[in-house]
């Protein structure tokens, strides 16, 4: 396997669901040695699917497969004294712990940051939770959906006025928070010498989005002028055309704001007279007349396919794109040319395609070479090997349900 950027970095993941596993996957994709520690019953995602043929099987969850490539897996009951001791041994020479428990859980298990730092002062602990380690909601129960909507993203930017604000249709807050934890956590690892050791990286998934997405563009104006805006279900209400529109075989992201873009669209549409009218030469006046122009554009889009519209508009200098289905996105020749999708052989799933790493490092490509671990697959290798327990000791741990 090619050298990875993070070769030699030892990561322990004590995570379930999406946020911490995604964070650890980013480390694993670029060469870090990641040991995923699951409770004896396994990460709950093993029960989430999607499963081939919708038949549940703890080794066949597609989401588990995607989120846990390139990791080795052990089981451990961290709620028991012996399990806790074993975990501390794993952490003794680790560089990073990535975890996503609600804060009271690790405190009760005496695995809070202060305890971990006392045992290994060089350890960087990345905690990724909906609400963070401090503040009035830090003890709250919460999942991706709760965190996402605490960020005001749905209220401000997604959904129809007066109707329910919307999530992205994925684990949007978990992905965002997991990625954020990876960036800040890796910085802490990189800078351990100048910082004088490890530290605790506290990510609230809600806060990361509230600040950097919604806050960035809205809070300055609101704090000064006391005014704020809400979702409209139109892509960009102030300029037009700028929204998702139906076409013959699906949808397109219709965008033509600058004069050159508008002229490009007009050309593709066959230069209809109405598009030359003075009142439609400016994106703002077009938006003020959106009731008039959107139906006229839609009349045209409904006669054409999304790929054709995208291709012709792009060639005419107009940034219209097709709204790709997941299948169209996955099968696009662009991704094939970039070798973005990767094949991995899995003991239970067989050969499965997965998404490749998010960016390319030509000097040290890394990338996934190992499928997600089976439950406890590396117990013998890690407890027997790295931790030096003999076979009888590992067998005893297994018998007592610790691993």
């Amino acid at each position: 396997m090619a050298a990875g950027a993070l070769d030699g970095t030892k990561v322990v993941e004590l995570g379930q669901m999406v946020s911490a596993p995604f964070c650890a996957k980013l480390f694993a994709d670029y060469g870090a040695d990641v040991i995923k520690v699951e409770p004896p019953g396994g990460d709950v995602v093993r029960g989430w699917g999607p499963f081939p043929g919708d038949t549940p099987h703890p080794e066949k969850s597609g989401l588990f497969f995607y989120l846990n490539t390139n990791k080795r897996g052990v089981t451990l009951d961290a709620g028991t004294d012996r399990g806790r001791e074993l975990l501390l041994k794993l952490l003794a020479d680790a560089d990073v712990l990535i975890e996503n428990h609600l804060p009271p859980v690790l405190r009760e298990r005496r695995l809070d940051y202060d305890t971990l730092a006392a045992a290994n002062p060089n350890l960087v602990v990345i905690s990724i939770t909906p609400f963070g380690q401090s503040g009035p909601y830090s003890e709250w129960n919460g999942y991706d959906l709760n965190a996402f909507h605490l960020s005001a993203t749905g209220s401000r930017y997604c959904g129809k006025p007066g109707e329910a604000p919307l999530e992205h249709g994925t684990f949007s807050a978990d992905f965002y928070g997991g990625m954020t934890g990876a960036a800040w956590g890796l910085a802490a690892v990189y800078g351990r010498e100048v910082c004088g050791g490890g530290q605790h990286i506290d990510v609230s998934t809600a806060e990361a989005i509230a600040a950097t997405f919604v806050g960035g563009q809205n809070i300055g104006g609101y704090a000064q002028d006391g005014k704020f805006e809400k979702r409209t279900s139109v892509g960009m209400p102030l300029g037009a055309p700028a929204t998702i529109m139906p076409c013959k075989d699906g949808h397109v992201w219709m965008l033509a704001l600058e004069p050159g873009q508008w002229n490009g669209l007009a050309q593709v549409m066959g230069n209809p007279d109405w598009m030359q009218l003075e009142m439609f030469q400016d994106m703002f006046t077009r938006a003020q007349n959106s009731d008039a122009i959107y139906p006229l554009i839609e009349e045209w889009t409904m006669q054409h396919g999304k790929m054709e519209i995208m291709e012709k508009c792009q060639a005419a200098g107009c940034p219209v794109t097709a709204v790709f289905t997941v299948a169209e996105a996955a099968e696009h020749p662009h991704l094939a040319a970039r070798e973005f999708l990767i094949d991995l052989e899995h003991a239970e799933l067989g050969k499965v395609r997965s998404l490749g790493p998010p960016f390319k490092l030509p000097e040290c490509p890394g990338g996934a070479s190992r499928p997600a671990p089976l439950l406890g697959e590396h117990n013998d290798e890690i407890y027997g090997g790295a931790l030096g327990l003999d076979a009888a000791a590992v067998a005893a741990l297994r018998e007592d349900g610790i691993i």
């Binding site: 950027a5 993070l6 989430w48 999607p50 499963f51 919708d54 989401l63 989120l67 963070g132 380690q133 503040g135 009035p136 919460g142 959906l145 709760n146 993203t153 930017y157 997604c158 959904g159 919307l166 999530e167 992205h168 249709g169 994925t170 949007s172 992905f175 954020t180 960036a183 800040w184 802490a188 990189y190 100048v194 910082c195 506290d202 990361a208 509230a210 600040a211 806050g215 960035g216 563009q217 809070i219 300055g220 704090a223 000064q224 704020f228 139109v234 960009m236 998702i244 992201w253 792009q314 940034p319 997941v326 996105a329 696009h332 662009h334 040319a337 973005f340 998404l355 998010p358 390319k360």
Partner: protein, 406 residues
């Protein structure tokens, strides 16, 4: 005890434009790096022209929405249309560890700032390029805006009310996402340089990074050939119910409720006062609840509609139910949780007005992130050009007069 920030010895030249590139610089800046945006009065960044403005004064140095996203970057002004400015930019890059850019593929090369040139100036330079779809491949020149980039990843096809058409997200979620993920990319390359002494040219496709979020639906397509549509607020893998946003008293007030386990369901039933419909055996299991999702959601909505969102969230949390108010923009500023975490901070801009920006959106125990307001265009010119590059006073003045430093 405050310790040093982890990236304190790193210097970054940021050619990033609009939002994503500036956020990469900001993230590295929050973490201690010395970051300078290279910009110019000759071509003012679009985001500097967006209202509202500090104290209502229209000025490219007073755009409030621009500041939060750029805070942490310094600024030097070079008019890159002038050969002398490019020469100074190259000289500056010689003093940097990292160069960030989010132009289209090939633009840096046309400017004479391609990777091959940069490594001649500094052999271990890290060039971070983040075009929409990467540096090569048939879509490499695709034109998108940040808010439409998600359309070519499959993500937009999942957003909307269940069973309805896709609904656009009205701003570029992908921009700050890629900005922060970009900082991770730069850090992987810095880590590699630390071990080997080698720099490199990172090929970051914003679309491929965003596509990571489509993982759950992608795997269902791979394993079952199924193509997902808009999901609303439903659980992406249909293993939790209720799982949605429900109305509360007041105008546009909502509560999010996500029930994954039987214990959480029991807590919700208890909080609702154990109505007959909720204690039915059919709803005792996740499978049962998921199979009657629409009906379940209707009944829960009828119940939540009589309560204040914050009070109801507190009550449900006491019963162990994952519930939280659905915030609007105004709530972000007044909410006690975000106040306690100092998510937003009031700062004094170099031009003298007060403004509110986001602070350290991640809490670090060793030392708090370095949050600085601004930047004003060219605020660091004297420091960088005179002190760092050693340009003499009279030549500096000439460069300003010639609108090279501009």
């Amino acid at each position: 005890m405050a310790r040093a920030l982890p990236l304190k010895n790193i210097r970054v030249a940021n050619f990033g434009w609009v939002w994503a590139g500036p956020v990469t610089g900001q993230t590295l800046g929050f973490l201690g790096a010395e970051v300078y945006k290279i910009e110019s009065q000759a071509r003012i960044d679009l985001t500097r022209t967006l209202p509202p403005f500090g104290e209502g004064v229209r000025d490219p140095n007073r755009s409030l929405s621009n500041h939060a996203c750029w805070a942490g970057n310094g600024s030097i002004s070079l008019n890159l249309k002038k050969p002398e400015a490019l020469e100074i930019a190259r000289q500056f890059i010689g003093e940097c560890d990292v160069v960030i850019e989010n132009f289209g593929p090939g633009v840096m090369t046309k400017l004479g700032l391609g990777y091959d040139n940069l490594r001649k100036i500094k052999s271990d330079i890290i060039l971070f390029s983040m075009p929409a779809a990467g540096l090569y491949g048939p879509l490499k020149n695709v034109r998108t805006y940040g808010l439409s980039l998600t359309s070519i990843t499959g993500l937009d096809s999942l957003v909307g009310y269940h069973g309805g058409p896709p609904i656009p997200v009205e701003n570029a979620y992908s921009d700050p996402y890629n900005g922060i993920m970009g900082a991770f990319a730069v850090l992987t390359a810095l880590s590699y340089r630390n071990r080997t002494g080698k720099g490199q040219h990172i090929d970051y496709s914003q679309a491929e990074a965003v596509m990571q979020m489509v993982g759950p639906a992608f795997m269902d397509y791979e394993l079952n050939g199924r193509v997902a549509g808009p999901l609303g607020n439903r659980h992406p893998l249909a293993v939790a119910a209720p799982h949605g946003v429900f109305p509360c008293t007041g105008d546009d007030r909502w509560i999010s409720i996500a029930v994954h386990t039987d214990e959480e369901w029991a807590g919700l039933v208890e909080a609702m006062g154990k109505p007959d419909w909720a204690t039915a055996d059919a709803l005792a299991t996740t499978a049962g609840r998921v199979s009657s999702l629409d009906d379940l959601h209707e009944k829960v909505a009828a119940w939540t509609a009589g309560f204040d969102d914050r009070e109801l969230a507190e009550t449900l949390q006491k019963h162990g139910v994952a519930a939280a108010p659905v915030f609007n923009v105004a709530d972000l500023l007044s909410d006690p949780h975000y106040r306690a975490r100092k998510t937003f901070v009031e700062v004094t801009h170099p031009l003298g007005f007060k403004e509110t920006i986001y602070g350290a959106y991640v809490k670090t125990s060793a030392a708090e992130a370095a949050v600085r307001p601004g930047p004003v265009i060219g605020q660091d010119n004297e420091h960088v050009f005179k002190t760092l590059l050693g340009i003499a006073d009279d030549r500096y003045q000439q460069l300003v007069n010639d609108e090279v430093i501009y």
